[in-house]
Amino acid sequence: MKIKAADIVVIVLLFISVFFIKNLFTPSGAPSLVLVTENGEKNIPFHNHLYDLREETGHAMILEVKDGRARIKESDCPAQICVLTGWVSACGDAAVCIPNKVAVYVRCEDDDKGLDAISR
């Protein structure tokens, strides 16, 4: 497999984002689920739901959100590290699939707009 420069950037970004978020935001704020793919970041609601990530990632992957936790339920990657990571739920927790360049993590941060609540 040939590794391109862009691949390395994505991999590094995945790592950095995970550690950065974990260190900085651990104690406070409302958690949100973030799905990171090659196309960028996307927020996932905490509603119980199964997501087929095939269209989004080009890989046979299933993301499961249940009872406030998320996990990569199935993945076509060889090492299955993201699947074995199991459920993520605490601030900064992440399931990362490097070969497919997919990560799901729990981001916690204080909203910076001075808002007390969000209706959605």
Partner: protein, 311 residues
């Protein structure tokens, strides 16, 4: 990043000097519930209340939905209220809203998936049941006439449970706080002598808001097509179905409603999601509730005094 960190410090510092509120998050009613409170708001009791009401709502729905034709169900006081409310919303929406929509939406996999289009036969059978089999009440009992009938009061039960939670907080002496059940919220009292600031989420970007309002002793709820939906053949199937067309409602991206209690805000956000603009403008006068609509082309429609809450 340095800017973010700096901002965070400022926010934290500012927070330290003022009214102290804590936030507690937990999962109930199929979503993330966030309670903003001061110490000693009796949170344990509040959470227990939420769980108890959720159980009362769910168990009746499950019993009814899984029962064979001919079964009958006694109606407890809570469900008496829920049925009555459901007919109010049905009337306001000109029959577009109906708790029997579940007969159809469940075939698509709602609320929790996995999602797919139903077979034409199943679809036709559900439509037939909804069109021809209204809920049958006999001697104060609900009788299930047709096996295919299913009900869900998900459109407004969550809001009602938020109201119950607020009642418990107030009984425990809380003078201010917010109960936010996945976007359906009630904010009571004040924070630092000013009203609570609530943002309405942008349908396409969770980090943006389309409107910011200041409220006290009011509820806000939003119905949209961006959280509970699935895509099939390039078509978006959202969870709110119009019972006059038997198709997913697709008039708007999102609708928010301000009301005096969360049950009303919750139910009406679904009703207005189903109503064409001219009807919405007329109905909100009757209900006395400000409405914010976000359209497919990104327009904001503000009805019945929504602007007056935007500071």
């Amino acid at each position: 990043m340095r800017k973010t960190a700096l901002l965070l410090c400022v926010v934290l510092f500012a927070a330290a000097c003022t009214d102290k509120f804590e936030k507690r998050q937990f999962y109930a009613m199929g979503t993330l519930v966030e309670i903003t409170h001061k110490k000693d708001a009796g949170l344990k009791q509040v959470i227990r209340t939420i769980n108890e009401y959720e159980e009362q709502v769910k168990s009746f729905e499950n019993e009814y939905n899984n029962a064979p034709a001919g079964s009958s169900f006694p109606i407890n006081p809570l469900w008496e209220v829920l049925f009555k409310k459901s007919y109010d919303y049905k009337a306001l929406s000109k029959d577009r809203f109906d708790i029997r929509a579940m007969s159809l939406t469940s075939l698509y996999g709602f609320p929790e998936g996995s999602f797919d289009l139903p077979s034409p036969e199943k679809y036709a059978a559900a439509v037939d049941a909804i069109k021809n089999k209204p809920l049958l009440f006999v001697d104060g009992k609900l009788v299930k006439e047709d096996e295919r009938l299913k009900i869900s009061v998900g459109a407004f039960a969550k809001g009602m449970i938020v109201d119950k939670a607020v009642e418990v907080m107030k009984k425990n002496g809380a003078e201010s706080g917010i109960v936010n059940a996945g976007g359906d919220l009630y904010a009571f009292g004040k924070k630092n002598k000013s009203r609570w600031r609530v943002g309405i989420r942008h349908p396409d970007d969770a980090s943006k808001v389309i409107s910011t309002i200041a409220i006290s002793d009011k509820a806000v709820a939003t119905s949209g097509d961006y959280e509970r939906f699935f895509m099939k053949n390039g078509i978006r199937y959202s969870h709110i179905f119009d019972m006059t067309t038997m198709e997913p409602a697709s008039l708007y991206r999102s609708v928010s409603v301000i009301a005096d209690n969360c049950e009303t805000a919750d139910g009406l956000s679904t009703v207005f999601f189903l109503l064409p603009e001219t009807d919405a403008a007329e109905v909100c006068k009757r209900t006395g509730t400000p409405v914010l609509i976000y359209t497919h082309d990104g327009r904001l429609i503000k009805l019945c005094g929504w602007e007056s809450f935007e500071n």
